[in-house]
């Protein structure tokens, strides 16, 4: 395992210390070393925004703590939900008396831990509501789409909710736009090779040379199918079809788009892929609003890419236009 690491069991702690040192706007919560927060939070009369999840997806989740973005993030071990205590501490640390919105990714562990933490906050009189991102179309069929996992679509959710909260919206308003984002967002991943959890030390799964896994999950969960590695153009076609069909996007509608690398994919190739994705959307007469191409939500050193689309409307367009300043996204 070719890694920059001291002790693999403490890679998350070491990373958090490095981020705290590199980013003057951030701090590790003094009461809990698995919570990263904006120094400025809690921000007076603003709803607190929190996310959380396993590590290994950097810049998600902690890279989206920032101005007009999240106020704090609960940080789990690699690919593992943070404990309830971390969510609780994150919630409490950013509440300015206006309540807290927790916007996370719908994995079983996160669900249990968030719910326990929400209960703990209620006992202290702090109101926390939550929205779960369910953008990964390959993680469950459409009939049970509430079971789907959240992946790169979270970036839109955090951006939109962060903008809304910064405008002084109430908790219910923030929850509403976050839920709307989720309803209008879909993602799909393609994996070209595996990733290695540092503490495990060997690849999590395997993709044969010359093959690709369509619909792979963000932790290497098996996808819809394994097939021969296609050209970027054909992969783009399949990815666009998967998300556009599921969201039932029609001609003349407008989407915003994220193409995110999964960790080890050269940036060059993300743009090669985007070139073909854009052509494919053009061919369907679909308009494109905002475009983000880069490493937004990764899976350690997995080689692969995710496509995320969000159906736009005036409200979402305006909220995407608001400035945001975080490690992972600056617009």
């Amino acid at each position: 395992m070719q890694r920059f690491v001291n002790h693999a069991d403490f890679i998350v702690e070491d990373m958090m210390k490095g981020i705290e040192k590199a980013r003057p706007e951030l701090e590790i919560l003094s009461e809990n070393d698995h919570v990263m927060k904006l120094k400025a939070a809690p921000i007076a009369s603003k709803v607190g925004l929190v996310s959380g999840g396993g590590s290994g997806h950097e810049p998600a989740f902690l890279g989206y703590v920032g101005h007009q973005m999240l106020d704090a993030v609960a940080v789990g071990e690699v690919f593992s939900s943070p404990p309830a205590q971390a969510f609780y501490d994150a919630f409490m640390s950013v509440d300015s008396g206006n309540g807290v919105a927790c916007l996370f990714g719908n994995y079983a562990g996160d669900n249990m831990n968030v719910k326990m933490a929400v209960d703990m906050c209620l006992d202290e009189g702090v109101e926390v509501k939550y929205v779960v991102a369910t953008d990964d179309v390959s993680s469950s069929p459409k009939e049970t789409k509430e079971k789907r996992h959240g992946i790169a679509g979270g970036v839109f959710m955090w951006k939109v909710a962060g903008a809304k909260a910064s405008q002084g919206a109430t908790l219910d308003e923030v929850i509403r736009v976050a839920q709307k984002t989720v309803n209008q967002t879909r993602s799909i991943c393609v994996g070209l090779s595996s990733c290695t959890i540092p503490a495990v030390g060997k690849p999590n799964f395997h993709i044969d040379e010359g093959k690709m896994e369509f619909g792979i999950g963000h932790h290497g969960e098996p996808g819809m199918h394994v097939e021969d590695l296609k050209s970027a153009k054909d992969i783009a076609k399949d990815m666009v079809k998967a998300v556009v069909d599921d969201l039932e996007v029609k001609a003349d509608e407008t989407l915003s788009v994220i193409v995110s690398g999964l960790g080890a994919t050269p940036i060059m190739e993300l743009y090669v892929l985007y070139n073909d994705i854009e052509s494919e959307l053009q061919a369907r007469n679909i308009n494109i609003d905002k475009v983000l191409v880069g490493n937004y939500v990764t899976s350690l050193d997995m080689n692969g890419a995710a496509l995320t689309i969000m159906r736009m409307d005036d409200e979402l367009h305006e909220l995407l236009e608001v400035e945001a300043d975080s490690m992972g996204l600056r617009v």
Partner: protein, 211 residues
Amino acid sequence: MKFTNQEGIEIVETIIACIQKNRDYLSEIDGAIGDGDHGINMNKGFTLAKEALTGKENMSTGFQIISKMLMSKIGGSMGPLYGNFFRGLYVASKQHEEIDGQIIGEMLDKAYDNIKKISPAKVNDKTLVDVLDPAIYAYHKEFDASQDVNKALTEMVGASQAGLEATKHMVAKLGRASRLGERSKGHQDAGATSAQLILESFADGCKKLLR
């Protein structure tokens, strides 16, 4: 047949040692249809618990320490699930100086109830419930019939093994493996594996002390 809560701390140590020993095995099983970290998650929590033990604990407070470490430090699914499980073992035994077959049964019930409170998992969903449910049922069946705690523990271990084996033929309904659908068949469940190890080392620990 009984043992003191004080002596029972050995059971806590036996369970911790068992999880530590099976770190890689559990991850390997999780790797087949999950994300390959089950052993890491479990080992980290139980190792932190071991380090937190001061030497002054009895069985109950030992289980309490495991519970606290899992809940506050581990997260994942295992933090809340096993955190609540061990809290049940703690709560149902903490007021007893001596532990007998009756109390062991209550401990197992409380631990399992706590899991049911936070998880929607039912039998046949391919989770740790598929070990816990038949094993604890078997314990009660035998103990009710014979009042022989040793025999009841043996029955429990046997049923846990059968329950674990049965997960191989199930389709996962919850957790990461559920997205595999039919393809999750043919693989043993990771959480069920750790549950089986925990019940078996719990039984072994009890049997050594029961006189």
